[in-house]
Amino acid sequence: MRVTSLGLHGFRNLEPVRLEAPARLTVIVGENGQGKTNLIEAIYCLATGKPLRGGRLPEIVNWEEKGCRILGSVEEEVAKSMEVQVRSGRRLLMLDSKASVRLERYTKVLKVVAFTPDDLQVVKGSAENRRKWLDRAVFTRNEQYASVHRTFRRALRSRNRLLRKGKDTGRVPEELEAFDEAVAAAGARLWLGRIGFVEEMARLIAERFDTISRQGASLEISYQSDLLREQDVSTAGVSRVDLEKCLRVGMRKRRRSDLARGFTTAGPQVDDLAMKLSGHDLRTFGSQGQQRAAVLALKVAEIENLRLRLRRTPVLLLDDVSSELDPGRNAHLLGYLAGFPGQVWMTTTDPQLASAGQGPEARCLTVEDGKVSGEGVRSLEISPTCTW
């Protein structure tokens, strides 16, 4: 899978541009604050319809513009054209010039895995970072997971609203039980997606970590949930019905404390991904180098899992990763990239790394104050305004 052309208008600080020539490796160089990450984000956005950094979608539109367009051609078995338009807070997704494609359908076409300095937070940061990584990775593998996630969030917010009302009025809302069921039904599906994914990934991550760190320490990951633990529900081969029951029972047991606090205290929304290095918590006891090796292992395993499951090689987007890794991990990453059969886009401020863009099938692009230059850079020939 390759992005064979990319067109941008009104995207962040980047000047309108069209990029041709489907190099396997594109190295994007430039000083700080010039627009390197923005260029990577454009591809991420083309693939997923979402911004790369947390944030809200309208933030990708250039401050001086009303709307933005990202166009791309993707080469798979058949070539496809994709486009994302954002205007007045609304998003339009187009496939082969057909407008208003559903996100689930749209995101099937181009699979990307992004690796940014923020990803270190998956290991170092709070549980929320790990849940986010998990949910995004599950979604990349299976687009249907998006609607599961949406339904769960809505059910949970509804239940929380009732708990809040119960707390404020001192009366248990009559319909609370009905929303317990809604949360249990959606939560079980969410659990199933996460648990299945962690199970698939555990071995891959352990293997990768082993080759990256070469210290003989073993990395173990597992899905961590208070509810599953207190009810002795084993994640291996667990069914949706069992998960639903576990969540329902857990909420019933906590009803009084939930009502006292005004929100749902247990469930998938507070779970975590445990990472243990030879039995000890990686976040607390791991060295910097071990933590970095773990993030790299996580990412590479995610990519390999996608290749295995979808039988397609995702496009890799690496943003300034070299600055976060030490020389040893960097060497490993570059070695992995050299043998990687798919397309890679990476940014760096390090002129030394830019030399990676000199080889065959590689190119180097420079970004200066939003202006992209280098091989395959053309002027954009589309109407700058959104088409709706």
């Binding site: 249907q144 599961v148 917010r157 509804s158 609203r161 009302k165 319909e175 929303f179 069921e181 039904a185």
Partner: protein
């Protein structure tokens, strides 16, 4: 523009899906048409405002005390199909498959929109079931968070009165294929399978 025209435009643009531009077009269309049309339209609007009300039994729309469905003696009195809206009732009527009665809730339980049991037309439904003669209540609310919760709520509320509460089935649409059905729908179609 004369104030009467601006007022018409302003009122029209309150309608769903009608922007200011379309409202202008509609207003000028009414103006250009023979004046009989405008008067007839005005009359139809006030007839709806004054004459249409909710059926005292099932809360369907009617212009008398009782709606056409409730008045129909061939309908099965022991079956009540609960729907969220009149549009849903009409959709089920169009299938021609259903011969029982209805009850329109005019909404679904939705904590996020501040809609609780008191906001729904549940009193009259409870009264109908308590009166006896109802064998089964079919929960035909939407398959979303609110609709599912509403059907579970009905189940608890009415199940206590000894009637059977059933939920409409969900499955693979006719004319669609299994390969392209979404996973949740397909999953439910499998769990709700029936013997042949």
């Amino acid at each position: 523009m004369p104030p009467s025209m601006s007022r018409l435009v302003a009122l029209l643009s309150k309608l769903p899906g009608i922007g200011e531009k379309t409202a202008h077009r509609l207003a000028f269309h009414v103006l250009d048409a023979p004046s009989a049309y405008a008067l007839e339209l005005a009359e139809a609007l006030s007839a709806v405002a004054e004459g249409v009300c909710f059926c005292t039994k099932c809360c369907n729309l009617t212009d008398s005390d009782c709606c056409a469905v409730c008045r129909d003696p061939r309908r099965d009195d022991s079956l009540i199909c609960v729907v969220e809206s009149v549009q849903d009732l009409l959709a089920i009527e169009r299938t021609g498959e259903y011969q029982g009665h209805y009850h329109v809730l005019h909404g679904a339980l939705s904590p996020l929109d501040g809609i609780g049991p008191e906001e729904l037309r549940l009193e009259t439904l409870l009264a109908r079931v308590r009166k006896g003669g109802v064998r089964e209540v079919i929960a035909a609310t939407n398959p979303d968070v609110e609709g599912e919760a509403t059907s579970l709520y009905l189940h608890r509320l009415l199940g206590a009165l000894g009637v059977t509460v059933s939920r409409i089935a969900q499955g693979v649409p006719m004319g669609g294929d299994i390969e392209h059905a979404d996973a949740v729908t397909l999953g439910r179609a499998i769990s709700a399978r029936r013997p042949l």
